[in-house]
């Protein structure tokens, strides 16, 4: 057993660091640090995606024949960790990490040829049409319906919590194309051009003051049958496959550590009157750091199992659950650390383009919005309650 990286892995680490140093601009870094929502705005995120693509690193998890870099699990770990340390923007996760793997796994040759290069290059920006107002945790009860009409489906219904629908030119959606004995039957996985007539988008503001999610309405929206991925009625299988990617690329601890470091820096700063001198704050910083250590070790254990071709099993639910809970602990601690400045609300967005002097120092601007928006971490991608059900069923067999 060995925690340290070998010479090859260290050389790769240097390569990643060199790439980041050359391509991550101060502007991107500042914009990322001043983004209190889950995802970076596309103008920032896609600039980074283009840089990654130029390097051949546009889709770390993809097989090499579709443009993946053919990295070992350890290399992916190093890449994600270095990106987190440097504070790089989020790319379009819905494209690279969600719909991409589904198209690779179940799409037609035409779909692969058309969509995959456009995800890599950043030409397409994807959003996810899963949840509906009546279908949250009970996702397969969804009612948005696609009715066959010649070579098209005609779609009616509505999707909600659609992250960046207002930026996206494409959506992948689960829609009902039939009814079976189980509500999971009769669901199909469909790729939709967001410019198709009949689609309207309503912004939803989150409690942190950000416009990140939306409700999307479909009124007689005509989508070619050729846009269906895989078989009709088998969408639930593909959708669940995707959720495993959504729940954990398995490498979240590095980002949590950077988030905690920012809070610890504030706690040691005169800006907070040295909050760390309170034994309660000092201990809580340690508690969260230790939780991150535990998560990191679990991630590395999974990684080691993957390196030897073992299947880590239901542990992706543990990783998702702990990641979301620890992230909330970090933001909760942040809200306590900043003291007086927790009172100030900055309504303007984006925070990196304010045209006035904010009421709080820039390092604190995101703390309260992150705490508030961060409540969503234990809700999206399957609530913590759903994850516990999965752990009980898959790991414990009850």
């Amino acid at each position: 057993m060995d925690l340290s990286f070998n010479a090859e892995e260290r050389a790769f680490q240097d390569e990643v660091r060199g790439f980041i140093a050359k391509n991550l601009t101060e502007e991107m870094k500042r914009a990322t640090a001043l983004t209190p929502s889950v995802f970076s705005d596309p103008d920032i995120g896609m600039a980074w995606q283009r840089a990654l693509h130029r390097q051949g690193w546009g889709a770390p998890g993809w097989p090499v024949e579709y443009g993946g870099p053919d990295w070992t699990p350890a290399q992916r770990w190093i890449f994600e960790t270095e990106c987190a340390r440097a504070g790089v923007p989020n790319v379009n996760v819905m494209g690279v990490k969600m719909v991409g793997p589904v198209i690779i796994g179940f799409g037609s040759p035409e779909q692969k040829n058309f969509y995959l290069p456009r995800i890599l290059s950043g030409e397409d920006y994807w959003c996810q049409g899963y949840s509906e107002p009546g279908s949250g945790s009970d996702l397969s009860s969804l009612k948005t319906r696609a009715v066959r009409d010649g070579d098209d489906y005609i779609i009616n219904g509505t999707k909600i919590w659609t992250t960046h629908a207002h930026h996206a030119n494409r959506m992948f959606a689960l829609v009902r194309t039939g009814d079976g004995p189980r509500q999971q039957d009769g669901i199909s996985f469909i790729l939709i051009d967001m410019k198709t007539p009949g689609i309207t988008t309503r912004p939803i503001l989150t409690i942190g003051g950000d416009h990140e999610v939306n409700q999307v309405f479909f009124d007689d929206v005509r989508v070619p049958v050729a846009n269906r991925v895989g078989e009709e009625g088998k969408g639930w299988t593909y959708g669940k496959y995707l959720l495993e990617f959504e729940r954990g690329s398995g490498i979240a601890s590095a980002k949590l550590r950077e988030g905690l470091k920012a809070i610890a820096d504030l706690a040691e700063s005169d800006l907070t009157g040295r909050a760390i001198d309170s034994p309660d704050i000092a201990t809580r910083l340690s508690e969260v750091e230790v939780d991150i250590d535990a998560l990191e070790m679990t991630e590395l254990r999974v990684l080691s199992a993957l390196q030897t071709g073992q299947n880590p099993g239901a542990v992706s639910s543990i990783l998702k659950l702990r990641n979301s809970e620890i992230r909330q602990a970090v933001t909760r601690l942040g809200a306590d650390v900043i003291g007086h400045d927790a009172l100030a609300v900055e309504p303007m967005r984006p925070l990196y383009k304010l045209n006035h002097e904010p009421a709080t120092p820039e390092e604190m601007l995101t703390v309260i919005p992150e705490y508030l928006n961060g409540r969503a971490y234990t809700i999206f991608g399957g609530t913590s309650e759903i994850q516990r059900d999965i752990i009980a069923k898959m790991m414990l067999g009850i």
């Binding site: 060995d2 350890a74 750091e289 516990r388």
Partner: protein, 382 residues
């Protein structure tokens, strides 16, 4: 980066698990609980034959040169069967301190005997007034022409009643008075003036308090050259905490398995307990905490020989986190067994008590989170 077990480590795990499953059943545990020695000399002999006593010792003194990860593999298996032999006191704490601090004569005199099972050790370091602060030692060792005179009181000495030799820490006084250095003294358990009062330990095995009434030791009782032994004590205790953490993981895993089985069998309101979501989620939380504890024990072992602050933060972080997980898993195991969980008729209580003892040993979660925080600040200012 590779956290997979080597082939040797897989073998070690298999043989330890097999040994515990075959030789360490409920009857054996019940017998040990009422045994005045608290463990079985026959089992200890088997440990020697299996090479487990030699495992952590240096190769030049009859050992196998195993590391903290290997000890952890063994300890996790011990935890599954609630093994009560004085393994940590002898092989992890005692032998490690002799190997670290002793002269080559001292090592040659003790370590091969530890390996063959003929010498058991204990570390007498903690004192009541020091609470969990390893640096606070008021027991004194006065140098005279005839050797050393030790006076003071030690508490919570693991397995001291069974030890042939006891390693006593004491503040070294020379002709000018207190030197500011802590020394480690190897004392035979039969030394006049060294009085052992042993008691049954929470969760199995025994512990003792030791009084030193001007106990006289020869000059070569001092381990090594008399330089300050505090860094070595901290190193050894950090290793012991990693080992005990692994043992706690084994205990928690057994509690989880047992409780899971019980909730499947026990029916109330016409269905198994495990059909209730509130129970399923509780068990999911328990499984998650066992997994987190496993990660932390492994982490502490992997960093057992890192630079002092990194090692100590890993050890304290693990001790604090595993302690919390242990309390949760232990308390919930009792809760989910209902009234029977509170009785001596089931073994759940025995496993729980060992976890409570673990959490207390060398300081509980509050102490170790505070130490972790303090060391973090030292790391930043260094």
């Amino acid at each position: 980066m590779d956290l997979n077990l080597s082939d040797e480590q897989k073998l070690l795990r298999e043989s330890a698990e097999r040994f515990v499953a075959e030789s360490y059943d409920a009857d054996h545990r019940r017998k040990m609980a009422n045994d005045p020695l608290g463990f079985s000399p026959a089992v200890w002999k088997q440990f020697a034959e299996l090479g487990w006593l030699a495992l952590p010792l240096p190769e030049e003194f009859g050992g196998l040169g195993g590391g903290a990860v290997d000890i952890g593999i063994l300890m996790e298996a011990f935890g599954r069967g609630l093994v009560s032999e004085p393994y940590v006191a002898t092989a992890v704490l005692g032998a490690a301190l002799i190997a670290k601090c002793g002269t080559s004569e001292q090592k040659q005199a003790s370590l091969p005997k530890v390996a063959d099972g003929s010498l058991k050790l204990a570390l007498a370091h903690s004192e009541r007034a020091a609470r969990f602060d390893l640096a606070k030692v008021t027991t004194s060792a006065n140098k005279t022409a005839q050797g050393w005179h030790l006076s003071g009181s030690k508490v919570a000495v693991l397995d001291g009643h069974a030890a042939d030799d006891i390693i006593v820490s004491a503040h070294i006084h020379d002709h000018r008075g207190p030197s500011g250095r802590i020394g480690l003294f190897l004392a035979q358990a039969t030394t006049p003036g060294l009085v052992i009062s042993d008691y049954p330990r929470l969760g199995g095995g025994r512990a003792c308090n030791i009084e030193l009434f001007d106990a006289h030791l020869p000059e070569d009782a001092l381990l090594g050259d008399g330089s300050d032994a505090l860094p070595a004590i901290e190193w050894a205790v950090d290793r012991a905490m990693a080992a005990l953490g692994a043992e706690a993981v084994g205990i928690m895993q057994t509690l989880l398995d047992t409780t899971l089985e019980y909730t499947k069998i026990r029916k109330q309101f016409g269905r198994p307990l495990s059909a209730n979501q509130v129970i399923r989620h509780r068990l999911a939380d328990m499984a998650m905490q066992v997994d987190e504890a496993r990660s932390m024990a492994l982490r502490a072992a992997l960093k057992a020989d890192s630079a002092p602050i990194e090692r100590a933060r890993a050890a304290s972080g693990a001790k604090a986190k595993i302690g919390r997980c242990a309390r949760f898993v232990g308390e919930q195991s009792i809760q989910l067994h209902g009234g029977m969980g509170v009785t001596e008729e089931l073994e759940v209580g025995g496993y729980f008590k060992r976890l409570v003892a673990f959490d207390t040993l060398f300081g509980g979660s509050a102490h170790h989170y505070a130490r972790h925080a303090e060391l973090g600040r030292r790391a930043v200012s260094a």
